[in-house]
């Protein structure tokens, strides 16, 4: 299989922070807003360099979303930063009316998404955010897989008009995508060609999918691995082309099965190209405290879970 090398683990949120600083330098209309989590969101460099364009709202996320929506009137490009939990559920109606329905150019940037937030536990481990955001008309939903891709995605959304939800995480995670690779919103990335099963993964789970692919290869199974960094709009063409070749699908995401990437792909397949699907995702459950790797294991999102799902779905194909 195509080899991917971890260039040194880094947190995806730091990719966001670095890109935000670059955007601050290159685009005077970029404004950053934060709800008392500047350090966690890696927004300190932007805040220190561009104090006039950094808006600290305090612990008041609803007001932050409203202010961001208002800033677009006058040509500003606001990037809001807080945890995924406070970026979505807490402010769903504000996003729905003032951002999505009003079609405002707000970039909602959400860190600490998913189980890998770790020890803080279920109150902070949002596993429903992709579903909530993808259901909103006008909303683009992006979940990059590593530091480099998060950085590239952050740069890309600044020049992409309209509401965007950008989701990333807390832990240090393998950084394996080439630095400086342009990020094309809505375009799935083929990471490994295969003919036996298509593995569509998003976010942190892309690395796990690659590790699973290697294990499957050792068993003589050729898995196609595709990074779906943009969950909405979904790259239907790339997904259907892969499934026409492999005839079965595994999806992998650090999210609830309901409403996640797997749900989007299953919908596409039942409409266009019916095929068996196994979903590696959290099954209707809240998370809990623990180390990221312990949680992924407990909730069935580990590498062996992807391998098992692949074997199961290949068996269903026959």
């Amino acid at each position: 299989m195509t080899e991917y090398i971890n260039q040194g683990s880094k947190d995806t949120r730091s990719g966001f922070g670095e890109a935000l600083l670059e955007l601050g330098k290159s685009n005077p209309n970029v404004i950053a807003l934060c709800a008392d989590l500047t350090g966690s969101l890696k927004m300190e460099a932007f805040a220190a360099t561009f104090p006039d364009r950094f808006i600290q709202v305090g612990i008041a996320e609803a007001n932050m979303i409203g202010i961001a929506a208002g800033l677009t009137i006058g040509g500003k490009i606001p990037f809001t930063g807080t945890f995924a939990n406070f970026s979505t559920g807490r402010v769903y109606d504000q996003i729905r009316q003032s951002v999505a329905y009003s079609n405002k150019n707000v970039k909602i940037c959400a860190s600490h998404a998913g189980l890998t937030l770790g020890e803080d536990g279920a109150t902070h481990q949002n596993l429903e955010d992709i579903g909530m955001m993808k259901m909103l008309p006008n909303m683009t939903v992006i979940n990059p897989c590593d530091f480099n891709q998060t950085k590239a995605a952050t740069i890309a959304i600044a020049s992409y008009p309209g509401p965007v939800y950008l989701r990333f995480g807390r832990p240090k995670w393998p950084n394996f995508m080439p630095a400086g690779q342009p990020f094309v919103i809505g375009k799935a990335l083929l990471l490994n060609e295969g003919s036996d099963v298509s593995i569509f993964a998003t976010g942190h789970m892309v690395w796990n999918a690659l590790l699973a692919c290697k294990i499957l290869e050792d068993q003589g199974i050729l898995a196609e691995v595709i990074d779906i960094h943009t969950i909405k709009p979904l790259d239907n063409e790339a997904i259907l082309a892969s499934v026409r070749k492999t005839g079965c699908v595994v999806t992998a995401e650090e999210h609830m099965r309901n409403g996640g990437l797997g749900d989007s792909i299953a919908q596409l397949l039942v409409r266009e190209q019916p095929a068996p699907v196994e979903m590696v995702a959290v099954n209707d459950s809240f998370g809990e405290s623990g180390k990221p790797e312990e949680l992924l294991k407990k909730f069935g999102l580990d590498v062996p879970d992807i391998v098992a799902a692949a074997l199961k779905v290949i068996a269903r194909k026959q």
């Binding site: 404004i31 006039d52 364009r53 808006i55 709202v57 305090g58 008041a60 609803a62 007001n63 932050m64 979303i65 409203g66 202010i67 961001a68 929506a69 208002g70 800033l71 677009t72 009137i73 006058g74 040509g75 500003k76 606001p78 109606d93 504000q94 729905r96 009316q97 003032s98 329905y101 009003s102 079609n103 405002k104």
Partner: protein, 281 residues
Amino acid sequence: MLTVQELEKIASQVRRDIVRMVHGSSSGHPGGPLGSTDFLVALYFKIMKPDQKNFTMDGVGEDLFFLSNGHLSAGWYSVLARYGYFDVSELRTFRKLGSRLQGHPATSEGLPGIRMSSGSLGQGLSVSIGAALAKKLNHDEHLVYCLMGDGELQEGQNWEALMYAAGNKVDNMVAVVDYNGVQIDGPNDKVLPMGDLQAKFEAFGWQVMTMYGNDMTEVVETLKKAQWYTGQGKPLMILMTTHMGNGVDFMTDNYEWHGVFPNEEQTKTALAQLDETLGDY
């Protein structure tokens, strides 16, 4: 320059429009817009005077208005049409299928004059703060106006916004509360007493002015004065006392007219009390 008498004539026509629109669609909210008509007429025709022929979403170089209590849409649409943003004949499409005049204001239909959707309450003050901050960043010295309902103040987001604006000296904005004392389920004091609003705003660090919102002379004078109070490091709030349903005797101060449309007979009675000054749509 329009005189107070001329503004009052416009207001009378706007009130007729409101009654006819709500009757025409057999739905909508007559009470609130009738109470805030004088304010909206004065604001557009006398105070802001925005460029209605070249509407832009960014509104750079002109004053902006945001309606937070979006259910006052009938009155806002009428004022926008009478001011010349779009043809008054379009008012008859209010709340009907395919209309740009949605039940609550929407940007999705491209209606000139509207920069933000509203209807779900409590969001307009935050939006107005954002727009005011954009004006500061753009070195645009024009003001941002926001109208809110009093019942709407029960939404917690307003208090986040009030805190932010004072703490960050957002002083290029005028927020106006339509203080009619009633909401859907009854008087504010029965539904959820809000106490001394002026004291609360002042405690939050705002400058507060009061006015009676159903006297055109007072509205114009207060809004003129308010312009002078901006730019002094404090956000500005006008606590505007109004009568819900003002101009139509049987609707005045009756919370039951918050969201009920008048029937044929009631519409006739209401229109008999409101002079047709500019021609019905």
